[in-house]
């Protein structure tokens, strides 16, 4: 098992999360096996209630599993103690949420530098890094804005910059475009794409097929289990214009 754990950036084996007992037992995550290689973008898609958010919470150490194993960069992480788990969440995993979860009383740059400060970086280093990250997400000129003065798409880009603050091994995104209009969705997708190009490992759970379709691999989830997997990388179909009746 340890060999398998070392081959992947993120690995889950027989992962389970159950709520309740007896007749009321709910298997939110039911014996899930997941393998994510370094630099890969994987999307998990399914209707609401299929267990995809719970899965993401387990993978990122936000919630404890009922059984199974989780390995992050060759290290088993599902049995870590509370303090080690908190450190893992802070340093090794970046989170992006549907509702952004920014601190409203902090400016954009203060939000982005926060995880680095918590990890013990000097204020100067943290600020320099945060400025660089805001630049990377195209919001250098909004550094001093409060989140309330930013659009939804801009807030999410700040949140993505924050998720990168401690150079995480993996970024976990839960419905990252769920609250965004189509232009803002496009901006966030472009950003994910540039992270992907830079080698960042990404796991995105979503019910939005347009995000899922940009991943390297798409996993369909129903009732807590994986039911289908599609590898999306590959050649062009040559039918792009077909719906517009230009060709095809």
């Amino acid at each position: 098992m340890s060999d398998t754990g070392r081959t992947y950036m993120l690995l889950a084996r027989g992962l389970r999360k159950e709520y309740g007992k007896g007749e009321g037992l709910v298997r939110a995550v039911d014996e899930v096996d997941l393998e994510v290689t370094a630099g890969e973008t994987v999307a998990v898609m399914g209707p609401s209630g299929c267990g995809k958010s719970t899965l993401l919470h387990l993978l990122g150490g936000l919630d404890r599993s009922s059984g199974g194993e989780i390995w992050l960069d060759g290290r088993r992480v599902d049995q870590l103690g509370e303090r080690a788990l908190a450190r893992l969440r802070r340093d090794a995993v970046g989170f992006v949420f549907q509702a952004f979860h920014l601190m409203d009383e902090l400016t954009a740059v203060e939000n982005v530098e926060l995880p680095a400060l918590l990890a013990g970086r000097s204020p100067r280093t943290a600020r320099r890094q945060a400025d660089g990250l805001l630049e990377q997400v195209g919001l250098a000129d909004r550094a001093k804005f409060l989140p309330t003065a930013l659009s939804g798409g801009q807030r999410q880009r700040v949140a993505i910059a924050r998720s990168l603050a401690n150079d995480p091994l993996v970024v976990l995104a839960d419905e990252p475009t769920g609250n965004l209009d189509s232009q803002a969705t496009l901006d966030v997708l472009r950003l994910f794409d540039s992270l992907h190009a830079a080698g960042q490992t990404l796991v995105i759970v979503t019910h939005d097929s347009r995000i899922a379709a940009t991943a390297d691999r798409l996993i369909s989830m129903r009732d807590g289990a994986f039911i289908d997997e599609t590898r999306l990388t590959g050649g062009a179909t040559g039918h792009l214009g077909a719906p517009a009746r230009i060709k095809g």
Partner: protein, 178 residues
Amino acid sequence: MRQEVVLAMLAKEPSHGYQLRARLTEALGPLGDAMNAGQIYVTLDRLEKAGLVTREPAAELAVRPDRPDRKVYTLTAAGQQRVASWVAQVDWPRPDLAEFHLKLIAAAAARLADPLAIVDAQRRELLRRLREAQRAAMAEPDDSEAALLLEGIVLRLQADLRWLETCERNWTGRKGQL
């Protein structure tokens, strides 16, 4: 209506023209009202000339000399082959969703293929196209005119994917009833 749809309706068992029409009307509901009554016979005629079906007088109709038009249509080997390749074929978009819908029905009735496997193949194809359209949209500058067209393509593909999810749920349910 594509000839293959009529052919596929014969895959389960030989049938009369009027039975085919009734089956299509049932499958299409109000959408079938637009179907011309004579259209199916014209199609059957063409299929016969193409060697894809044969037409035999129905045995039980020997006692009904007043209705000599009632013939039974049967798929030939070539017809069966054509149906099989139509069922396996994944293509989108077609102007009518009805063709895909009827493909699932015909495939299930004649046990030619698992409707869920057909839905799956279709979904993969649509996802590949969605990916392509989305990537093209991402590559366009914000003020691009083409981006607007690409957005339309993306939205259409998303709508089709949502319908496929509904197809999947529906056919999963039917399978459970068998």
